[in-house]
Symmetry: C2
């Protein structure tokens, strides 16, 4: 059993990202995600299967075993703790820290990671609003809605910004679409693909492109005879 090299860790992470619930993922999807050729994926899946980290039925894609899933969640934890650290402690911009975290997650020791986590008071969310798995790899579940799926008039609170193009994230940040922000959908013009939002009191007009990277928690419906 070779130790989990950087490359192996990346495969496990990708597999988790593409199929968090454990579905089978086609070779080609992994290849595209990792920026690697399909034969390289087949090859690596073979090794990972030997090590019981994934199961790989020929021509039927790959899925994480419980062991692989634990490893993947460990990487997610490391990544999110590091992103939080880079933003909260080092003062870097949350639209730009992804790449640094991507490298460091493979190399920081458990001891140093624990110290960072302690320093920050064991945060449970990273700067993008993603939940941080606990040390045992448990991740709370929550149901969020893509902002673009909200109907006209809906109110909601922004909860997560999915890692995306840095420039797009910077733009979102600029207009106030950050975790915690309150949003109201003023108008949806589906045919024109135009959303008119009110974010923290300001009017924002945008197309839907990429907007499914903004996940929100809809406010409880303000029913007429508001009972509560």
């Amino acid at each position: 059993m070779s130790p989990l090299t950087r490359s192996r860790q990346d495969y496990l992470k990708a597999l988790y990202a593409l199929a968090p619930a454990g579905e089978a993922v086609p070779t080609s999807r992994l290849a595209a995600r990792l920026g690697v050729s399909a034969p390289s994926v087949t090859n690596m899946l073979g090794r990972l299967a030997e090590e019981r980290l994934v199961s790989h039925a020929p021509r039927a894609g790959a899925r994480l075993t419980p062991l692989g899933r634990r490893a993947a969640l460990g990487m997610v934890r490391r990544h999110r703790i590091l992103e939080t650290f880079l933003v909260k402690v080092l003062g870097l911009d949350w639209t730009e820290v992804h790449d640094d975290a991507e490298v460091l997650e493979h190399h920081i020791s458990d001891r140093a990671l624990a110290a960072i986590d302690r320093l920050m008071g064991h945060p449970d969310e990273d700067p993008h609003g993603h939940l941080i798995p606990d040390a045992k790899g448990r991740l709370a579940r929550r149901a969020l809605t893509p902002l673009a799926a909200l109907p006209r008039g809906a109110r909601a609170t922004v909860r997560e910004i999915r890692d995306a193009d840095g420039r797009r994230m910077a733009r979102w940040k600029e207009v106030g679409l950050v975790p915690g922000a309150e949003v109201r959908v003023r108008e949806v013009r589906a045919l024109d693909d135009v959303f008119e939002l009110e974010v923290a009191g300001r009017r924002v007009v945008t197309g839907s492109e990429g907007l499914d990277g903004v996940l929100v928690q809809p406010a409880r419906v303000e029913s007429h005879g508001a009972r509560s």
Copy 2:
């Protein structure tokens, strides 16, 4: 020119550590230092020579070129900033942070390193008392004396603790031999290899083994008619 991989960086660092003034270093010394076979060293020196980072006359050892020296000092800077960070910010023990720094120095981005440096207020010494090269790779010079070389009666201030066996460093820390500590040599029994010291008021008896890892700045001689 391939980018400076981890392995290359380690060779340059080792070369600098073994010959800070730019002397030639024999293949075997490098091999021992890096924990690698001699042929591997010859091989790598060939590559580094092609890249103008070292000069390598066959059978006459290797030395850093100015380019290689700059790269090596860059690594020293990274290492020392990271050690300082691990101790000062994360609260880890300075006898144990070497290995973490050793890994991270190869992987942290310039941007994150700069942020760490800024956070700490641009320290000029690491927790072992080593000077940190500036961003241009300049390193102040200072002349220090091994503690074991002091004569009976001498007073001095501890300035640097060279990276050594973690247990030994822990012991030194325990007895108070840390950068900044004041020491007086109460007795030297050369034949028995015994040093009797007074460190921060406490009496410490030790052999010389490894004690050259403790570097001190001797106090100005307290001459009889103390002038000043």
